[in-house]
Symmetry: C2
Subunit: 321 residues, 2 copies
DNA sequence: CTGTTAGCGCTTTCAG
DNA sequence: CTGAAAGCGCTAACAG
């Protein structure tokens, strides 16, 4: 392994000069600079990452906590991570995957941390600069930085839009109740339903005991036994598959008998549902970009806003009337 | 930050003793051990990861190259990575995401590297111990370690099984032609078709110009214009969605008019296709486990087999006759 | 069985 | 503008 000393020797300068040339940390004559660079190239010198980190106390590593019920990442996270990875790579940061609840995490001194999918009761204290994807729990929202979708607004807008066409009943199958996003969306849903009468309203949270499609299928079936529902909002397109299946089996026409919209599109194939599935574009790529950009600013002591809200857009397809 | 010196001082021993206690690298009396541990606890001492790495030249970091057309991970990779992450975490290794073609990769000295989705022409030389997910290209297969599905066998078995019921024609929409997996599967497909006459046979590779569902839809449509196909194998369930859409639009009954099977299940919802979609379980979790376990053995200089083949299982559902 | 000490490769004052 | 030297925190011979 070639070290900074080898380069210094070959270039006929001291190692501190080599260091300065590489880090642009002091003015150096062009001639010396060239000699150093030439020597480095000849020896194929790469600075030792760990030595550098030890000396500077800066790792340029960003950790990302994969926090999901299964401990593994889901499609939404996957999309966001892809975008984060791109930004990190562009800005010279490494991305380290950290399964939650591994005490190994304490040993790896990261420069910053990304936390995903905050729960209602989250209350952790973290040393490194960090940022949440999603609204953190009330306990920590004062001080925390986060990037989130405008869930409450989106849901209110979406519900209002649908209400125009609701004759009998509307149903909302929300994400799991312990997610802050579930809370925000429920608020928006209810806000839109204020002062609305003469239709039945259902709200239920996903309970994680079974597959999402199966859950939606079962919920819809149960609800249909006692009431008439002509509009359903589900958390994602996997749930929508359960709804479509139920509809097909029971000669319920989508959208004339039942309008369907999914909030998040994890399958990336809403176009290929029959009829094509309406959904809300959560702009995962933009979320990821904002998260990474903001965290890096934070690490570099630049000011950032406490929260940044990424807008969504409703994509109307054939599953809505 | 509390260092090894602080602990040594408080425990009244030398720092090397502290180091030995922590690393179990020399026998230490119980009494001393306790004193050291107590002191460490009191000071909330955590060894400095970078200093340790610099001294030992072992980072315990495993890199994983996300190599896909988009530079980002797909669902298959996501599943495998989840499993890798679990194993790494259990064995005390960190997982670093490395977008391919980032020259940053050269600077981070990893202990080992995982390479995904080998291409036909791959020919890279890598310093660190490394292992491929999927068969590497012929150029490097002599020396490379890899874990793969038994693609050729699986495909031959699958095709033979289907052939019993094929009356008119069979079509196979394979993955992109530059993947070694595409090659292996094509071989299996053709092997099964040896000595078979009187039916038309189609093989086409995904070309990445459009969405997979749209691709399958278009291919099927084109083929159906000039011939009759009653059995189709597609690379994944997203493609299957295109097939289902085409079938629905053209009053083609699945499975009686057209039997459908998908190789990989990225949507995790084959059950909720109507009719339920048959597919091949690639055992992504097992793949990930094998990859991680083997790479860690390699890093630790334990012998491993050059290749390990993970079997698949065909899941027959209603989309097959 | 424990302590001393010389590195690991790089950064960063501080003199020159 | 350049170089000498003192760390960063830890490990691992080597003496004792």
């Amino acid at each position: 392994m070639t070290t900074i000393n080898d380069v210094a020797k070959l270039a006929g300068v001291s190692k501190s000069t080599v260091s300065h040339v590489f880090n642009n940390t002091k003015f150096t004559s062009d001639e010396i600079k060239e000699r150093v660079l030439a020597a480095a190239k000849e020896l194929n010198y790469k600075s030792n990452y760990y030595a550098k980190t030890l000396a500077t106390n800066q790792s340029r590593v960003i950790g990302i906590q994969i926090d999901s019920p299964t401990g593994s990442m889901d499609t939404f996270q996957k999309k966001v991570i892809n975008s984060i990875l791109r930004v990190c790579s562009e800005k010279g940061y490494y991305l380290l995957l950290m399964p939650i609840a591994s005490e190994m995490n304490d040993y790896f001194p990261i420069d910053g941390l990304i936390l995903m999918n905050p729960k209602i009761n989250d209350t952790k204290s973290i040393r490194a600069p960090h940022i949440w994807l999603g609204r953190p729990s009330k306990n920590m929202i004062e001080t925390a930085y986060y990037v989130d979708n405008d869930n409450r607004n989106m849901m209110q807008k979406l519900t209002s839009m649908l209400l125009d066409k609701v004759k009998s009943g509307i149903s909302f199958i929300n994400t799991a109740a312990d997610m802050t996003a579930a809370n925000d969306r429920q608020m928006g849903f209810q806000a839109a339903l204020q002062d609305v009468a003469n239709i039945t309203v259902n709200h239920v949270n996903y309970d994680r005991t079974i597959n999402r499609a199966a859950f939606a299928y079962d919920v819809l079936k149960t609800q249909m036994q006692t009431q008439t529902i002509d509009t359903i909002i589900v958390d994602d397109d996997v749930m929508a598959q359960g709804v479509y299946k139920y509809a097909l089996e029971n000669q319920i026409n989508i959208p004339s008998d039942l309008a369907v919209i999914a909030i998040s599109e994890s399958l990336e194939s809403s176009e290929y549902f029959t009829p094509s599935l309406s959904c809300v574009d959560l702009n995962e790529a933009t979320l990821g970009e904002a998260i990474a950009t903001n965290l890096i600013k934070l690490i570099q002591d630049q000011a950032i806003a406490n929260k940044e809200l990424i807008t969504t857009n409703i994509k109307i397809k054939d599953s809505l009337r």
